[in-house]
Symmetry: C2
Subunit: 412 residues, 2 copies
């Protein structure tokens, strides 16, 4: 099929979502007999609906290379959720827009919500006999996509987290009377990122306690452990997921701080703050010096410390999305990463159906959680290859040089 | 004078306090006719009082090189303040300990409090006719020492801050309806670090608003500016110092949040949280989506992004401390950094009296503050040379390899 391609970035940004974009563009340019226009939708699927579509062939080659160390989503991202009913007005608009722009290849870079969007597009196009390949390109720092060994974006977040924990440990251990330091890591439902703090134990001591959302958080047991450790070594380093919950499934933050509970503009409870709540409890109960730290956005945008392995894999999933979309048999699929059962780190790129990935969450394996507050060596073996090699940082004036795209609109 | 040397690390750690330690050790080894023992006091001056003194000549050479990318203070740090009365018991203990260990050279790596300690030791030794050189080696991320162009530690903190602001901006700008993002930077009394956020404007847009403690913070004016900017561009990036105060000198955090005001174990008001307080006000007043981020400890320990210029200068001040202490005329002095008035960045190492530095604070120049909420180009010209060149990171397993010292106690 000959026609134009449309690339969509969707969901939370990562350090390498733009590397996948680069991988797609670079490969697409090699197939001009199939892929004519290489278009980008601004701010997710909404860009398609609103004619906010740019021509990526017009971008300067060097600027595109800078995408490899540019954090954030350069096309802009969105969280628009498509209706479950294919009779909904919106789908007709999508179809007419795709016809108008002659879109025959759609590449969606995103997480499980985005794969749901991709799956709906695929199902709808099939229903309407509209010939368009829809291919998902996995992306999330959370590593919570099923049917893939890991997700691009996770390795760089891990590298940031592991480095930061090692640095924080070295900072807090140098006082005679140090602090109980609680570091809050992203992850509402899956502890993959928080577990990454354990990597700091390879060349350092690592956190004393690590709590993931996969295990009920027992505050009494936690306080007892903190007290014992502090009395022994005069500082404690603790990693917690933002999403830790008690045995009744209530978020620790909302449970304790219910008077100050806030919600976002969509009514979702604002997480974050669990570390600060726990720090206050420790201080008032034991009068130990405490500090809470939220790693916050740098977890997903600290591109200066991206893993080169992650950057390369993010490009590869983009490249394979293009290659496999040109194979007639593949549609409604997400490119996944498979790993050979082998001591060396050998991976391959295959595909799975978007429907098998959409809206599902891969939680952290229970067998890698030790006594509810530590992480097993098995995880280290799994995760360590993902953070290898340092990003080649493009700089000007000692500061990162990010891609500056012209973003010329497609004019029909 | 022939005798032993004692190195002390004091005050808050930085990324390069251990580089100064390395610079001292390396240079001291070149002068065995003057400097016999190269000792380190554990946890500041208290190590001397408590016989917690290690023999740095026994450390492995390669491990010492790893000091160049090891954050925290490997000797341990302290905040012990010496008495103002030289008749105090403590001083006799210090003298007897120095005599016992035959300490003839003391190098104190620290900030203005530590220079006060150094100055008191120098004054006391002079009073007692005890022949011992006391030399200060400047160190602080805060850059608030007088009589020096800048302080080792500042450049690396700046580099972290500038990179992080650039990354955060790229993350938050990619949503159609972004957040008002308030980033809180260290600095109670001086805005040097917060001003560093402006460096992110060189290759990016930089923060929309920057507030330092040097200017009274007007909350009504702030809210009006935030509203205008958000309505124009749908996200706002704000940098604030933790120490911003209103025109009456009250900390914004304590003023607004007085019900929850907490103090540390010494009764100091816990700062931090100003960003969170301001974010809550913006959300409740305008219902804009908001996020507050405290950069917290990584500002002073993110050694993976240290400035090589800073590492080298930190070594040099250590080296010059040794060289100049062997010059009979210099005592009770701190090594300082001077800069030639020249387009190129050319610096020299001189010295000033400890008494001229002790307990003083160099605030951010008013002439570089624009309209209370922006930073002048003059600061960029001043600061940019300090963040140049990237740290050569020593790694194992893709993670930093820090120095592991044996810390063998000196046995007399």
């Amino acid at each position: 099929m000959k026609g134009n391609s449309l690339i969509i970035q969707s969901g939370g940004p990562t350090c390498v979502i733009n590397s996948s974009l680069y991988g797609i563009i670079k490969e697409a340019k090699k197939h001009p007999n199939n892929i004519e226009g290489i278009f980008g939708a601004l701010n997710g699927i909404e860009g398609l609906l609103n004619n906010e579509i740019i021509d990526l062939r017009k971008e300067n080659e060097q600027e595109l290379i800078y995408l490899l160390n540019t954090p954030g989503a350069v096309l802009g991202t969105g969280r628009h959720k498509l209706n479950n009913d294919y009779n909904n007005e919106e789908y007709n608009k999508i179809l007419s827009q795709c016809e108008k722009y002659n879109i025959r290849y759609i590449y969606i870079i995103g997480g499980n919500d985005s794969m749901d969007t991709g799956n709906k597009l695929y199902q709808f196009f099939t229903l309407k006999h509209y010939d368009c390949k829809v291919i998902g390109v996995p992306k999330t720092i959370d590593n919570d996509l099923v049917n893939t060994d890991h997700t691009p974006g996770y390795g760089s977040a891990l590298k940031y987290i592991a480095n930061t924990f090692q640095e924080i440990e070295n900072d807090i251990c140098c006082y005679q009377n140090g602090k109980v330091t609680i570091v809050e890591v992203m992850g509402r439902d899956a502890g993959w990122l928080t577990a990454g703090s354990k990597l700091s134990s390879i060349n350092g001591n690592g956190p004393d306690l690590i709590y993931l959302p996969e295990c009920p958080f027992d505050i009494e047991d936690f306080l007892m452990k903190v007290k014992n450790i502090y009395e022994q070594k005069h500082y404690v380093l603790i990693a917690i997921s933002e999403g830790i919950r008690n045995k009744d499934g209530q978020y620790i933050h909302t449970l304790i701080n219910s008077g100050n509970q806030t919600t976002d503009s969509f009514g979702h409870i604002n997480l974050g703050g669990a570390a600060s709540v726990l720090a206050n409890i420790i201080q008032s109960k034991f009068n130990f010096p405490v500090r809470s730290i939220e790693l916050s956005l740098p977890q997903r945008c600290a591109s200066h410390i991206s893993s080169l392995t992650d950057i390369e894999e993010a490009q590869e999933v983009g490249k394979h999305a293009v290659i496999k979309s040109l194979n007639k048999d593949i549609n409604g699929s997400m490119i996944n990463i498979t790993r050979a059962q082998h001591n060396d780190y050998i991976i391959g790129y295959q595909w799975v159906s978007l429907s098998s990935v959409a809206n599902k969450v891969k939680t952290f394996p229970k067998e890698w959680i030790v006594n509810n507050c530590d992480i097993d060596r098995g995880f280290i073996n799994y995760a360590l290859p993902l953070i290898q090699e340092n990003n080649i940082i493009y700089q000007e004036n000692g500061l990162p040089r990010y891609a500056k795209l012209k973003k010329e609109k497609v004019i029909l």
